[in-house]
């Protein structure tokens, strides 16, 4: 059975479980120690900060498939490495061979958080930088979903537009849809 997208966490005192975990790890890394005192402090911060800030935040979908999220992270890290090598080759090659272009990628994702993650992934991976999300927020009427969303990306060397759109949708968007179930 396909599970549903969730905006609220299981426990009210832990509104964003993964962010709490991140805060916990970052605090220990910042102090470069795992002594008991710092662990207690990290736990307190990891619980208090999300609780204090959650009223200011618009609700975003939670990660429902942590295992898949980890796999996706590894895939993206691998892609970043290959992206760097590819872009390095493109940069060192002759400028004349490059045909840059703007491409509009239709999005299936609906919430800000998954779209932000997708846009950042696109920026970090081969030859593409995300530029804009259409329609503009200012054009939207409050509480109404737009019919279609697009991500405008700039490509360093555009060869086959449709192939690029398909790659982005299959390689990066599909796992995100699966992770957030949205």
């Amino acid at each position: 059975m396909r599970s549903q997208m969730r905006l609220e966490a299981k426990f009210r005192w832990l509104p964003t479980p993964l962010r709490s975990l991140l805060l916990f790890i970052v605090w220990l890394l910042l102090n470069n120690s795992v002594s008991a005192g710092h662990i207690v402090l990290a736990v307190i911060l990891a619980i208090v900060i999300p609780l204090a800030t959650s009223p200011f935040r618009t609700k975003q979908p939670l990660v429902l498939k942590p295992g898949l999220a980890f796999r996706h992270l590894m895939l993206v890290l691998y892609d970043i490495i290959t992206a760097n090598v590819q872009v390095a080759i493109l940069i060192l090659g002759p400028n004349k061979k490059l045909t840059p272009g703007f491409v509009k990628v239709p999005l299936d994702l609906t919430h800000d958080m998954p779209i932000t993650i997708l846009a950042s992934t696109v920026s970090l991976t081969p030859g593409t930088v995300s530029a804009e999300v259409y329609p503009w927020r200012e054009c939207l009427t409050e509480g109404k979903e737009p019919e279609e969303r697009f991500l405008l990306i700039h490509v360093l060397n555009l060869e086959d537009e449709q192939a690029l759109i398909n790659t982005i949708k299959q390689r990066y968007e599909a796992p995100l849809k699966e992770i957030f179930q949205c």
């Binding site: 940069i91 400028n95 509009k104 950042s120 995300s130 054009c139 405008l152």
Partner: protein
């Protein structure tokens, strides 16, 4: 042995950062210039930080983990700064070179 690993990592990292900077100078328009610093530099910095992590973990007592944090912040901020710059460039209608495809895909400002 460790010295060799550190030197190789430093050289590799340095050359990636150099390539990123070359891209910044060499590319013909703003949008293409953005590609060097957002990508080539991330891997370069990651390699330099790995070298630093190995160096400090082997010479000083204890494991040095601050570098993981630095690369985490770099990975978070690189796409955001790139996004802000390209958004500003589109808003100011900066010229892109003539052979740029799909320029009509940019929608007009509100």
């Amino acid at each position: 042995m460790i010295e060799w690993i550190i030197s190789i990592l430093l050289l590799l990292g340095g050359s990636f950062v150099l390539v990123g900077s070359i891209g910044l100078v060499k590319m013909p328009d703003f949008f293409m210039r953005l590609h060097g610093p957002t990508k080539a530099t991330t891997l370069g910095m990651a390699l330099l930080l790995t070298a630093s992590m190995i160096f400090f973990s082997s010479t000083q007592a204890g494991f040095s983990a601050k570098e993981i944090l630095i690369s985490l912040f770099l990975l978070l901020t690189a796409p955001i700064s790139g996004y802000m710059m390209i958004k500003a460039a589109i808003h100011h209608k900066l010229d892109s070179i003539e052979r740029t495809k799909g320029i009509d895909n940019i929608e007009d400002d509100v």
